[in-house]
Structures are given as structure tokens and as C-alpha cells.
Subunit: 311 residues, 2 copies
């Protein structure tokens, strides 16, 4: 059994995007086993258990990932993760991966795949609501698929947004008021908000939105009017209904599961698509266990491993 | 983060029984978080993911365990397991345990707790149907709670049963025909059978049965008439209905969930009990994630650990 400790280093982002795209292809074709992730509530956060089997990669395993919003104050990341990989022939645990960075990257890659297929343009203005680690991951991954000509970012903490913009030296990147950030081609929301941050009136026709932040019951970032106005694709139906951007509007009866246009997998295999230049498309991402397996395969080829005795 | 490799060594069986008893106490009182285990089917077996949070021990984590019946032919155990333990305050993974032996032990301990509370006698004849690793674990654990005066064992492979009996030198232990093994006080079934092995007519009044082998949909070891004749306690309602001894009779409509007398947790806290000397009691064990947490706590105090970098 091997423990991969420095995962996420020297991984090619384009390769990650293609691996995640391929996982969504399998998902769209119904070729994966992936029950909805399971939540356990802890006193100051939660953890999620995500088992899956991806036959096309002969890969099976489980990611265990926590979300503890108070962690940064203790000098720890909010989100930390381990992935266990099993040999599919014998069930033997063959690898354990530090999957903290991989979790950022595979989520970014899902956003990039959604943007690749659903953006109305190839050259885009990117709007970022939230400027933490996931905003960075989305920006990096989307850069591999589209030409980003301008970045407008906003954070509740404006110093944080300033710092984020300043760190991008090769592009026109600015910290702007929230409604200005929403005036873009690709809008990415990555906040832990429990109330709408993006109002419908701020979003122009033709925008594609990656709604990333809502990943647990009770979380939401978008004005429900945007969901009604736009066309909503999800990564996985049951997970999105339970814990994605649509979970609160569904609970309130404002939005219904029948209004979901399809899954990203269905988009990738060509069953579903953006129907017009003016359409607002929304990708509701909750994060899939098959994304974790797909990126684990890359990390195991690239990472440094410590041999551990097992059994 | 620490990796505990040689778990299961130098662990006191009485201590394990008490820890498992305490976990069932918490379960009976509704003080645990434990969604039903999740099954993923692999080409030649399956794996199960078992997350839980046991507040009384301040312990949260996930066990990942496979079942691959063809493994012994490859020189590997049928069942192998890893447990990940998270810090409940921050969600940080703090330990990974080789949980293969611990899985045997915690299952044996559940059988011992059931026998302690449900046996009609203190001095017993033990009947074993199946003579593999779990039969050994049940025998060892039950020995801590009851005086075993005689052991009668049976296996489909009679050489295996002979060998099992011969290895027990301090007690009257014999390999016998299956119906003779069923004529006992505590009957323990640990086979991977998918059809009844124990017929109702072979079991005398007052017997307590630990039905251990059936732990997945489609598995069963007991004549359904025994379930109708006896009083059935389960470790966990949803798990037992899905994958315990009662799962096949329930699917066939022979047995109904309403006929379940209660859980072992309810027995341990005194809510439910054996009602008479003549009653046949049956403990339907599927294996609980809280048992894995409870024994992990002991293993982490006793085992040797390798330090691993994380994050």
C-alpha cells in the first residue's frame, strides 16, 4: 500500500480537465457506480464520505473530506481530504492519497469542462464571486479551455479580492463591486453563502455561471430568479437536489427537480446543450466521487509515495 | 497523521467486548450518527463504506472494507479493511488503521455481547456452523462472557472443521454433522451461504443464535421457520433489513420488519430482553460502523504507529 503525500504538485491542468471530462462522459452514459455522498455532522463542521467505482479506469475507492469553516482561524484548511484506492480485482487497499489539493483541482476542472461546453463565447470576461482557493482553481482550470481576456473579482472581504487580483499579473484583473463582477461572460461563485449573493438583474443574457459554493443542504449563492431565468445543469441529480445550488429553492418550492435541464455528463456526450447565444446557463456543482477517482489516477502516476505495510 | 499497522495484536478481548457493549448502549439510546453502510459492487466482490460519529468517545471516521470470496485462492484474505479516524474538532485525518483483524474482533465482540444478554444459561454448549476466522473470533469473544463447556463445530469442508476442533486443546471440541452442531445452547453461524444451512427442526428451545454470515443482500443461513419460531434482534434496523439474515425472508414476504423484536442496543440498555428460558433468540448481525470506531479507539492506544505527513 502506498501513501501519496505531495499530490497536486506538477500535475498538468489540461490533463486533469480531460480526465474529469472523461469521468463526466462515463457518468452521462451511466457507466459508473456512485451513490450520493454521505454527510456526517460534527460539532464544528461536517465530513462527507464518497465511494465510487469507475470501470473505464478500473478504479474504485472512497474520498473522505471534511468542511470546517472555523479551521483557518486555527491555521488549518477548511477542507481536507484523503482518498483510498482499492484494487478492483481483490479489494486490497493499494493507495491512500492526501487529496486536499486534488479536491480543489478536480472541482476547478469540472467548472472548466462546464465552461468549455456551455460558454457562448471562446474569448471571455471572467467574473469571480469569492476569491479563495476554489476561485483560483476555477480560474486556472478555465484558462486551459477558454481565452480569458479580463477578470473581475469580488469578495465580501475587499482586501482579499484586491490581493487576488494583484496576484494575476499577466491579465487585466481587478477587484470590483459585486454587481460589476456579475457583468461578465463566465461567472463563477465560490462562497460559503447561505443566502443569495448574485442578483438576477446583475447578470446579462448569454452568461454561463458555475455555481460552485453550495455543496451542502442550506447553502445557496444565486437569486432563485436566476435559476428560473436560466437553464440549469447539475453534476449529479440526487446530490444537487440534496445539497447543490438548487437545494434551498427546491425546499422552498420555488424550483422543482423537473426544471433541471440535464447533467453535465449529458452535455459532454452531446445529449444536451446550450440552445442559444442569449441563454443563461448554470452549472450546479456539488463534486462527484468519480472526479476524485479520475484525478487520483493522475496523482498516482505523478506523486511521490511512501510504502506502507498492508495487510 | 498516524498509520497503525499491527492492529489486533495484544488487545484485551474483555476490553473489546466492553467497548462494543458501550457502543451498542449509545446506539440503543440514539446517541450516534451512523447512516447505513454503502455497497459498491466490483467484478469479483464488493466493498462497503461505513462512516460514523460516536460522540461518547469523541470519535468520527470511516471504515472501508471489501469482501472478495475468491481471494483465498490468491493467498489474500477474503475481507480486508482500513479505518480512517478524523479529529472531530477540525475534521483533520489523524489516523489510518489496518482494520482487517479489528473487523474480525469487533464482529466477534458483538456476538459476545448478544450471547451475554440473550443466552438462557451461563454454562453453555457452543455450536459453530462455519469454522473460518469469524468462528474463531466468536469463540474467543464469547469465552470472555460465558463458560463454554463443549464445542461442536461443522463446516462444509469437514477437514477444515476437524482442524478447527483440534486446535482447541483446553476444551471438549469436536467436528460433528451439521444437525448435531445445531443441538447446543449458543449457535453461531458464520458461513457465506445464500441458502439456509440451519434447519428449524435441528434447533432446541432456549437456544440463542448469533447469525453472523449474512451481511449482504441475497445471503442467508437460517431456515426462515427459525425466524418465525424465534425472537429476532438486529444490530441495526435498516442495515439488517437490507443485508442481514432477515433480508431474503423479507424480500420473499416470509418475514416482515414489524416482526423484529428490537435491536441489540435496546437489549443492552434493558428496554428489550429474553422473555423465557424456552424462547429461541436470534441476533442478526450485519456489523456497525460504530463497532469499528469503538475498537479503533482501543487499537490506537495499543498499536504501533508510523508517522505520515499530513496535510
Amino acid at each position: 500500500m502506498q501513501y501519496f503525500t505531495d499530490t497536486g504538485k506538477s500535475i498538468d491542468l489540461k490533463e486533469v480537465n480531460r480526465a474529469i471530462e472523461s469521468a463526466f462522459t462515463d457518468h452521462g452514459r451511466g457507466l459508473v457506480q456512485m451513490p450520493p455522498k454521505i454527510y456526517i455532522t460534527l460539532p464544528e463542521g461536517d465530513f462527507r464520505t464518497m465511494p465510487a467505482y469507475l470501470p473505464s479506469l478500473s478504479l474504485a475507492g472512497v474520498k473522505v473530506v471534511n468542511v470546517h469553516p472555523g479551521n483557518p482561524a486555527r491555521g488549518l484548511p477548511t477542507v481536507m481530504a484523503l482518498t483510498i484506492i482499492l484494487d478492483i480485482a481483490t479489494g486490497t487497499p493499494v493507495a491512500i492519497l492526501n487529496a486536499t489539493k486534488l479536491t480543489d483541482m478536480r472541482t476547478g476542472a469540472a467548472g472548466a469542462v462546464a465552461a468549455k461546453y456551455l460558454s457562448s463565447k471562446k474569448e471571455v470576461v471572467l467574473g469571480l464571486i469569492g476569491t479563495g482557493r476554489q476561485a483560483e482553481a476555477q480560474y486556472q482550470a478555465i484558462s486551459q479551455e477558454l481565452d480569458i481576456c479580463e477578470i473581475k473579482c469580488w469578495s465580501r472581504n475587499s482586501l482579499h479580492a484586491e490581493k487576488f487580483a494583484q496576484a494575476i499579473t499577466d491579465k487585466d484583473a481587478r477587484s470590483v463591486p459585486v454587481e460589476k463582477a456579475c457583468d461578465c461572460d463566465i461567472l463563477v461563485t465560490t462562497t460559503p453563502s447561505r443566502a443569495p449573493v448574485v442578483m438576477s438583474g446583475w447578470v446579462q443574457e448569454g452568461t454561463h455561471i458555475n455555481a460552485i459554493g453550495a455543496d451542502a443542504a442550506g447553502k445557496q449563492e444565486l437569486d432563485p430568479l436566476l435559476l428560473k431565468r436560466g437553464t440549469v445543469f447539475v453534476d449529479d441529480l440526487s446530490q444537487a437536489i440534496h445539497s447543490g445550488e438548487i437545494n434551498v429553492p427546491i425546499s422552498c418550492g420555488i424550483f422543482t427537480p423537473e426544471e433541471i435541464a440535464g447533467t453535465l455528463g449529458e452535455v459532454v456526450i452531446g445529449m444536451k446543450k446550450r440552445e442559444s447565444q442569449d441563454q443563461i446557463t448554470i452549472f450546479d456543482s456539488t463534486g462527484l466521487a468519480i472526479q476524485d477517482l479520475a484525478i487520483a489516477a493522475i496523482a498516482m502516476r505523478n506523486g511521490r509515495a511512501i510504502d506502507l505495510p498492508f495487510p
